[in-house]
Structure formats: C-alpha cells, structure tokens
Amino acid sequence: MATKTNLQAVRDTLMEIMERDPSVVVMGEDVGPRGGVFRATQGLYEKFGPERVIDTPLAELSIVAVGLGMALNGYRPICEIQFADFIFPAFNQIVNEVARYRYRSNGAWTVPMIIRAPYGGGVSGGLYHSQSVEAFFTHVPGLYVLAPSTPKDIVGLLRSAAQAPDPVLFFEHKRLYGLVKGEVPDEYYEIPIGEGDIKRAGDDITVVSYGMTLHEAIKAADKLAETDGIQAEVIDLRTLFPPDLDLIYESVRKTGKVLIVHEDNLTGGWGAEIAARIAEDMFEWLDAPVMRLAGPDVPAVPYAPPFEKWFLPLADKIEAKMRELAEY
C-alpha cells in the first residue's frame, strides 16, 4: 500500500485514467506545462501532449461547453475549473445544458464528462478562493456530485466517475490537498457513486459530513470520546448526489441523534436536504432534533486569519455541537 496525499491521489489517478482510456482529455486553465495551479495535472502534459492536455483560454463558460461538445463526439473530457469560485460563468452551460442533454433528447444525446474543481477555505483565499459551491449543483437533476476527502476515496471515486455515462462534478477540497495523507491499496478498486462511508464507528450520536469538516468531525469525535466517553459515528457522505441515506438511516436507528456538518453556509446548504430527509423519513427514530453546523451566512470565507477561523466549522465548534446533541 502506498501512502499518498489527496493531491497525489488526484494526479496519479488522472494519469492512470488517461493511460487506460485514450478518449480522455484534460482541459482547463494552466493545466498544461504549468501542471495546474495546484499541480494536480503535473506530468500529464509531458506524457500525453497538447492534444490531450489542453491549456484553454481563460473562459470557464467555454471550457465546459467545448468539453460538452467533445463529449458528444467521442471524447471523455475532464474539465478543470481552476477554483470552484469561478464555476459561475459556466453555470448556464452546466445547469441548462450539461445536466439536461440526456433528458431533453430522451436519451439520444449524452454527455459523459467530469468537471473538477478545487473548493473550500482554510488557505487564506478570501471571498473568491474559498467557496463551497456544491449546493448549487446537488439541486440540479442530471448531475452526479462527488466530494471525496481521503486519498483512497479520491482514487476510487475518480475511477468510477471516469466511466460514468453522465456528467460528474468532482469537488476537491483544496486545503486537504497536501494536508491529508492516507493509504491507497495497490490493487485496482472502484468506489461506487452513491455509497457513503463510516469513517469512525460509534453508537451515541451520528455525525454526517464531507470535505474538510469531515476530518474536523473525526478529530472532534475522538476528543469527545476521550473527554466525555461519548462515541460518535462519523459518516462521510463522499457522494453528495445521490446521498447515501441508507447508511445514515441505519446509523440513526442506532443513535437516534444526528448532526450534519458542512463548510458551505448554512441556509440552503446541502445539509438542509439531508436534514429534511432524515426529519421526515426517520421521525419515529429521532430522540433529538436533527442539528446542523455549517459556515455562517456571509458571502464566503473572509480573508484575515481570525475571520477564517471564525468562519470554518473546525473541531472545537463541532465538538461543542456534538456535546449539545448528545446531552439533548
């Protein structure tokens, strides 16, 4: 088993996918000789050349739209949006076009493509290099939305995404790129889209999360177990759409208490849907209100270091909220 960072997991898997599938092209701003601003595409250009690793003009709308067109004509494009914050110029193309091609043509035209985007705060990125944008897409029928946050999950889910007959949004938390290291099995494996993962077992309360807050939640859970003897089960959603409610419900049947944590701002975040589903479907099982902890309702993560800490749902805040839930 090799130990990799999240970034290496992305990079190595892109390399592997391109080797295996000649129809895959990688395209985006600075993905070529520069290897991407986070170095996630490093080495690809040298290996596959400018026809398969395309430095595009600075134009997200058309990175997606041109990718869509290539997907119609024999390719499987992996389009990179340099920062998730800059996905909005392409919003019309993603929501009105990419997501709807199959449905509107009754299955005649399909768009197998991946749109990768680094997201999230914690890197002093301020309002426009820190955004979490997943909730804008999980609402849109026709898109798979993935947000793995460990090397193993990244490898397994990227492999699956690269075989999907439909568009996949693949969000990578940029703060975790270098921060998270983990083991990646040597033998080939895939992780099915739609399958969550219990990252920490427990039977007192259930915590559902993804991305950076998943790691913070695990830290908080360990702490809480130590200090209060409360055992939290921490579920990593991994796939945001479709969300693995089976796994969550199984846990809630055991714990009766659930907390959802995400970095994106609370109101209208993806946690709202998860909470609403649990509240409706698991009504009889709940011993406490479904709680949410999320980023504050301000326009993205502000820059100054104390602000960033204020914004992000880090372990201490999660721990406090877990305690509140456990004590309910």
């Binding site: 058309s62 119609l72 076009e97 509107r104 043509s105 099915p192 089976d246």
Partner: protein
C-alpha cells in the same frame, strides 16, 4: 480565366435540374408545414410554434451544402427546412409540435422546434440562445483531433450574438481552427429589438476579423447565393482551412413566434416591403427564367407538399401522448458503478 469561366466555377452551377427542383421542393415543404403549424396554433391545437418562414433560402442552402448524416448540425430554432433536408420527416415535425408519442426530438419534453435527431447528427436544441456555439466548437475540435472529415454547422440569430457565448466560441474557433461554419440568420430583429439596438456595427460578419476567421455576408433570401457561400465555407472547413462566419441577411415576415404580436414594434409597410423579397418568390422567378418551373409544375409540387403536410397533421393529431410515466425516465443513464440508495426516494 475569363469572367465567364470564373462564374461557372460557382458551386451552384454544378447543381443539376433535379437538385435545383429538390431545393425548391424543400423550400415549399418547409413553408407549407410551417404555415400549417401556425394554423394549428390558432386553432388551439398546438400551444406554441416558432417559425422559419422567410428564412428558407439560407436554411435549404445549408442543408444542401452539408453531407447528410456525416456532417453535424447545431440548428437555429428556425431551421425547419434544414432539418427536413437532413432527414427529419414532416410527421416527426408535427409530433414534436404537439408533444406526441413518436416525437424524436425529445419525446414530448421540449417545446416545438427544439430539434434533435441523432441519426442525422442534428444535436438537441435548447432555448437559451447561443449556448450551442461553444458546444459546436467542441464537436468540431473533436473531429479535428480525430482526423475525421466531418464539418459542424451551427446556426443562430443576430440577437444571440450579444451573448458572451458568441465571443467565447469564436475565440476558440480562431485559436484552434476546427472545421466549423457559424451561420447567423440576421433577420434584423430579436423579438422586438432591432439590430441597430443590438450591436454597434453594420454586419455580424464584420466581427469575424476580431477572431482571425473568415467572415462572409450573403443575401439570405437568395437561395443559390447562399448555397455558394455555404458550400465554400463547408468545404474549406473540410479541407482544414478553418472556420467561417456566414451572415445571411434576411427578414422575418411573421411575428417572432405564435406568442408574439409584431405590430407594436414595426410597421406593416416594412413587412410588406420585405415580402416582395420572399425567398420562395425569388427562387421561383429564377427557376422560371431558367425554364425549370412553370405554373403546372408549381401546382404539382404544391400538391405533393400539401399531401405530405396533410398526412403529417392527420397522423400527429391522432397519435397519443407519451405515457406519463415516461416523463420520469432518463434523467440518468444506467451505470453499474452507481448505487442508488434505497432510502433516497427519487420523487420522479
């Protein structure tokens, strides 16, 4: 080379009598089908229709300039004639108009004239204008990279060129030189907005220079002029000589759609003036002058067309709607690597 010889090298000079009459046939078929769709709307049988009337010259020209089933079309929503030429049947047009079972465009999901027909490489149309242009560039880029000799034709109106998508598409096209032809049907109005309020230059084609690609202006009501321009553009693209932006100057003699009333924004005189330059009238005149058409032959064509139209209407009106359950299908395709959580009730 003498002037005469030069003239004789026009692509339209190579069209034989049969082809010339086929073109005429499609112009009339498109027109009559279109008129009937208006009527069906006025009769309350069709909720909506957006029309190709007056635009048939450029539409027929582009259809004939393309290799059917080989080249790609991202149609303008008015391209009824082109789609007929490329293989969509009048029955299919009518089924789509009414949202009936058998609608090949979308099986009743999309509004009429949102063409889509994969066997003819007609790519599914959506309503937001100009989104198709950068997509078409992507298809062309893929052709180019794969060394295929396909050409991509993408249509739009002049109003849509104000969208950012236009600029981005042309910029990519200029950089990569894929085999694509941009066809702007400049009918001078975007619903009510005159082209003078839409853009500060006289011609859409003038903008091609900003992208280092060819720009060509053509009389969009003159079928053979359009044909010449389209063949040249398509064949240049096929030969790897890069993209062309064709601007066909034309006019929409009817309201924008069945939902529009054009009296609030333009005079009846203007409309009547343009009707004198109706592309079918002009082409009939040409064919008559060449002795390829007379009143008898005209009547014959009309009769055949009307039979097709009647048949299509009759057929479509008697078809059922698609089963209501089908509306929930096909948001995603089957995929062995997706595990739909059981508890995640998809409410569709």
């Amino acid at each position: 080379m003498s002037v005469q010889e030069k003239v004789m090298t026009r692509p339209s000079d190579r069209l034989n009598e049969e082809q010339l009459l086929q073109m005429y046939y499609y112009m009339v078929l498109s027109r009559k089908l279109d008129e009937r769709m208006w009527i069906l709307n006025r009769q309350g049988k069709a909720p909506f229709h957006i029309s190709g009337i007056g635009h048939e010259a450029i539409q027929v020209a582009q259809g004939f300039a393309m290799r059917k089933g080989h080249d790609w079309l991202f149609p303008h929503y008015r391209d009824i004639a082109t789609c007929l030429i490329l293989g969509v049947t009048p029955r299919q047009m009518l089924l789509a108009l009414l949202g009936k079972e058998g609608d090949v465009f979308s099986r009743g999901r999309q509004m009429p004239e949102h063409f889509s027909y994969k066997p003819s490489k007609i790519v599914t149309v959506s309503s937001p204008v100009m989104t198709q242009a950068p997509q078409a560039v992507g298809v062309a880029l893929a052709s180019q990279l794969q060394g295929k000799d396909e050409v991509v034709v993408v249509g739009f109106g002049e109003g849509a060129t104000s969208e950012g998508d236009f600029h981005e598409a042309l910029n990519w096209a200029g950089i990569y030189h894929p085999p694509i032809v941009f066809v702007c049907q400049n009918n001078q109005y975007a619903i009510s907005v005159h082209v003078k309020k839409q853009m500060p230059v006289e011609n859409v084609a003038d903008r091609a220079a900003a992208y280092n690609i060819r720009g060509v202006i053509v009389d969009g009501n003159d079928l053979l002029a359009c044909y010449d321009v389209m063949v040249e553009a398509v064949e240049r693209a096929r030969r790897g000589e890069g993209p062309t932006l064709v601007e066909a100057k034309t006019y929409r003699p009817v309201p924008h759609s069945t939902a529009d009333d054009d009296r609030s924004y333009r005079s009846r005189e203007e409309v009547e003036q343009w009707k004198k330059r109706d592309p079918i009238l002009l082409y009939e005149k040409y064919l008559m002058e060449r002795g390829l058409l007379d009143e008898e032959k005209k009547a014959e064509v009309l009769k055949q067309v009307m039979q097709e139209v009647d048949d299509a209407v009759d057929f479509a009106l008697h078809q059922p709607y698609p089963p209501v359950e089908s509306a929930a299908e096909g948001v995603f395709g089957d995929f062995h690597l997706v595990k739909w959580p059981k508890a995640f009730k998809r409410n569709a």
